[in-house]
């Protein structure tokens, strides 16, 4: 299947407004739910359904266009730039939470404990507070808790994600070598490892909530821990879904060595999620 030399300009797109509608329903529903309205959850579910239909429809449309050779190399470059800068925006999103962790650990908690310009803060407001990380703050918000260790499940999870990065690359080699079997096996392994990671993360959360007293409400430690690992876990789920779509398309016979943007995008995203985890492992668990 040859790719076109022309720049493909699509017309009359219906999926974007459908997606927007779904997203608004979901968010307005969530807002109503947070405000204690009973109708909130129903709207969220409806919005999610619309959003999923949009994703399925839009992906199918794009995959069909791609397979019928409508995308020139130049179109492919636009898509790649789009994905690249989307991932950059995601990096900035995570940077906020890493920045928050850095600021609280190195500035606000020590100030509360009387360091630097915080001497009067400790003396007048929190005389009994000693700044030691991990902490739930001078108000002991959320009560006693046990911090999460690094070398149990989290370390295992690190190995799992690193392995999944390798299997993803192995699948890519399969694609390039026109080895469809290797492509499918590699992708399946990657998705499987991703799901295993999520399952282990879930069990870690379960243990934190039921046995360690560690919750989202456990002061700044609990807040940063769950916010960072939680958003990461969410991104792993999204990555796994994207990879599953790519797996399904591979199984249907899509992708050629010279035309496989969707695979590349999924792989980049997966590696991004992988790298974020390494940052998490070091800054949230180890240090």
């Amino acid at each position: 299947m040859s790719t076109s030399n022309e720049y493909y300009i699509p017309h009359k797109a219906t999926w974007p407004v459908v997606g927007t509608g779904g997203l608004v329903m979901m968010l307005a529903g969530f807002a109503n739910y947070l405000n204690g309205s009973s109708a909130g959850t129903a709207w969220m579910a409806l919005g999610l359904a619309v959003f999923i239909v949009m994703l399925a429809g839009w992906f199918t449309l794009q995959a069909g266009e791609s397979e019928s050779g409508m995308y020139s190399t130049q179109v492919g470059i636009s898509y790649r730039m789009g994905m690249m800068w989307f991932i950059f925006s995601e990096i900035m999103f995570f940077a906020v939470f890493f920045g928050t962790l850095w600021y609280t650990r190195n500035l606000s908690v020590p100030w509360l404990g009387g360091e630097g310009t915080g001497a009067a803060t400790k003396e007048l407001l929190w005389p009994s507070f000693e700044a030691v990380w991990p902490t739930n703050g001078p108000g002991k918000v959320g009560g006693e808790f046990e911090p999460m260790g690094a070398w149990g499940l989290p370390f295992l999870n690190t190995l799992i994600l690193l392995t999944s990065g390798v299997s993803c690359t192995w699948a890519h080699h399969g694609l390039l070598a026109k080895n469809r079997d290797q492509l499918i096996k590699g992708l399946a392994a990657t998705v499987g490892l991703g799901l295993l990671f999520v399952a282990l993360q879930a069990s870690e959360y379960h243990e934190a909530y039921t046995e360690m007293g560690l919750t989202l409400g456990s002061g700044i430690y609990g807040s940063t821990f769950f916010m960072l690992t939680g958003f990461h876990g969410f991104h792993v789920c999204v990555g796994a879904i994207i990879l599953s779509v790519v797996l399904f398309r591979s199984w249907k016979g899509h992708f050629q060595p010279e035309n496989h943007f969707a695979f590349e995008a999924a792989a980049w995203y997966w590696h991004f999620v992988d790298v974020v985890w390494l940052g998490l492992f070091v800054f949230v668990y180890v240090i």
């Binding site: 720049y7 927007t20 730039m81 800068w85 925006s89 999103f93 928050t100 509360l112 703050g137």
Partner: protein
């Protein structure tokens, strides 16, 4: 990279025009249609935000509380800012980018047309979600557009809606920015090297990078507000080890580049218009490009000058003071370059040029007060007073808004094929430029004399200047109805004079859009242009 266009429909009809009826606007992927949608939406929001400003100025006309209660007043200042920033100025520039960038670089359309449609509709959704909070129990957000905790956490039912609205606006902006970057890097006509691009394209390229870097940061910040309010986290609560000031750091890491998102494309339009009417190339094209990049870079490392009084360690105060002062250098270069562009030109003063000159003068005044505020000890007096209000309105209203007006007058003939009524245009300009100064100049005095910002009522010694400011505000507000009239009139036929492709004398030497018919056909540059204008460099 050249772009030969392939066009395909789902229905195999070889109809390359727009869809019929209103649906055209809902499902369009055409950069001109989407540009028009953005511009009209921005104009509508300009009047919505303007109405809020009129309510504010009416309450401040005299001391005492006459019309609204203090809570509603605070909602008005908050919503005025949010609507103007996210609903009017930013979308207006995205609209200009949509219309002009493909035509300026010789591209057939934006690089990712379907996503282009989605970013517009997400914007509408975000603004509607925000506007809906006006009618909610507890009122619209009233903690200021900066949404500082813990105050903003006292918002009623509006809080989650406002937060999700920020998320939607963020996604919309990121999509728009990605599209602009991909278009500029991937869709330029052969021979259109980066250093031959019109300044408007350059400034938008740099702005797009700013947007991608900062919108996720804002999204992250408001997400933490959401979890602090509803999920028991302690990010901004000292009792749990957090810090309310942390929010301010994150917010202004977003917020300072954000104000440059509104001013850099302004610079770009000014640098495009002034050479055309001075009949001279832009002075120092490459130094303009570098200065824009330098301002963008500096915008990321100066954020805490918005926070000199929050109680930072002295090293922080000094660092942010020095870094902020540096901004004056590239900004100065820009102002000097515009002046040098006019120097020894053969100037004419049509409405776009008048607005552009007013921009250079009045923006520079905003720059001067900015320089004064960069000095941290002095800022201990200026901070959160009307001096600040005057400063940022000078950099936004007679700067960004004036340049948007200039852009409207400059390109309306190209977009519609009709000429606007120059007499009404000039009347609009003179009314605007006089009233905007009556509106904002006295606010310098008020701030220096000790009037804090965001107060619904004030001590009687501030009464006179407030009344003058309000009168200026009412005249300014009313004058903008002239602009609305001109836009509608021009779309409907204007003076009836058929404009040429070039519209303005020798404009085609400066930029590619003037080589196209007026109005341009629905699809332009389906085969790339062969001659690249270079007069502007």
């Amino acid at each position: 990279m050249s772009a030969v266009v392939a066009e395909h429909d789902d229905h195999h009809e070889h109809d390359h025009g727009p869809a019929k009826g209103l649906l055209r606007w809902v499902i369009t992927t055409n950069h001109k249609d989407i540009g028009t949608l953005y511009l009209l939406f921005a104009l509508a929001m300009f009047f919505v935000g303007g109405t809020m400003a009129m309510i504010i100025r009416a309450e401040l006309f005299e001391p005492g509380m006459q019309f609204v209660n203090p809570q509603f007043f605070n909602s008005m200042t908050t919503m005025h800012a949010l609507v103007m920033v996210f609903g009017a100025v930013m979308p207006a520039f995205v609209g200009l980018a949509n219309w002009m960038i493909p035509m300026m670089i010789g591209a057939p359309d934006m690089a990712l047309p379907r996503m282009n449609n989605m970013s517009f509709w997400l914007l509408v959704a975000g603004v509607l979600l925000l506007a809906s909070t006006l009618f909610m129990e507890g009122g619209a957000p009233a903690g200021g557009w900066t949404l500082y905790p813990p105050l903003v956490l006292q918002t009623g039912k509006a809080l989650p809606f406002a937060i999700f609205s920020v998320h939607l606006l963020g996604i919309s902006s990121i999509m728009g920015a990605i599209n602009i970057i991909a278009t500029i890097f991937n869709m330029r006509a052969p021979g259109m090297t980066l250093m031959k691009m019109p300044m408007f394209v350059w400034t938008w390229l740099i702005t797009a990078f700013l947007l991608i870097a900062i919108m996720p940061v804002f999204a992250g910040a408001v997400t933490m507000l959401l979890t602090d309010k509803f999920f028991h986290t302690s990010f901004f609560d000292a009792a749990g080890g957090g810090d309310p000031v942390l929010y301010q750091h994150i917010f202004w890491f977003f917020g300072h580049p954000e104000v440059y998102v509104m001013i850099l494309p302004t610079f770009g339009v000014a640098s495009t218009i002034i050479p055309v009417f001075a009949r001279k190339p832009l002075f120092g094209y490459s130094s303009m490009v570098y200065a824009t990049a330098a301002i963008a870079f500096l915008s990321f490392i100066v954020w805490a000058h918005h926070m000199f009084t929050v109680g930072m360690p002295i090293a922080g105060e000094l660092y942010f003071m020095y870094a902020t002062m540096l901004i004056a250098i590239p900004t100065g270069v820009k102002v000097f370059n515009w002046t040098a562009t006019m120097w020894k030109g053969a100037m004419t003063f049509e409405t776009p040029m008048l607005f552009s000159i007013a921009f250079v003068v009045l923006f520079t005044m905003g720059g001067f007060t900015g320089l004064m505020m960069s000095v941290a000890p002095s800022d201990f007096q200026y901070h959160d007073t009307y001096f600040i209000v005057a400063h940022f309105h000078y950099t936004l209203v007679p700067a960004s808004v004036f340049i948007l007006m200039a852009a409207g007058y400059f390109w309306l003939p190209k977009w519609t094929g009709h000429m606007y009524d120059e007499r009404i245009g000039q009347l609009h300009f003179w009314l605007s430029v006089v009233s905007v100064n009556i509106l904002f100049f006295p606010q310098h005095f008020l701030g220096l004399a000790g009037m804090p910002r965001r107060i619904p009522d004030y001590a009687v010694q501030f009464a006179d200047w407030n009344m003058i400011s309000s009168i200026g505000g009412f005249i300014f507000g009313a004058s903008q109805l002239l602009f609305l009239y001109i836009v509608i009139d021009t779309i409907k036929g204007g003076t009836g004079e058929k404009v040429t492709d070039e519209v303005w004398e020798d404009a085609a030497k400066h930029s590619l859009e003037w080589t196209l018919p007026s109005p341009p056909p629905y699809h332009t540059f389906t085969t790339p242009p062969t001659v690249i204008p270079t007069e502007h460099i």
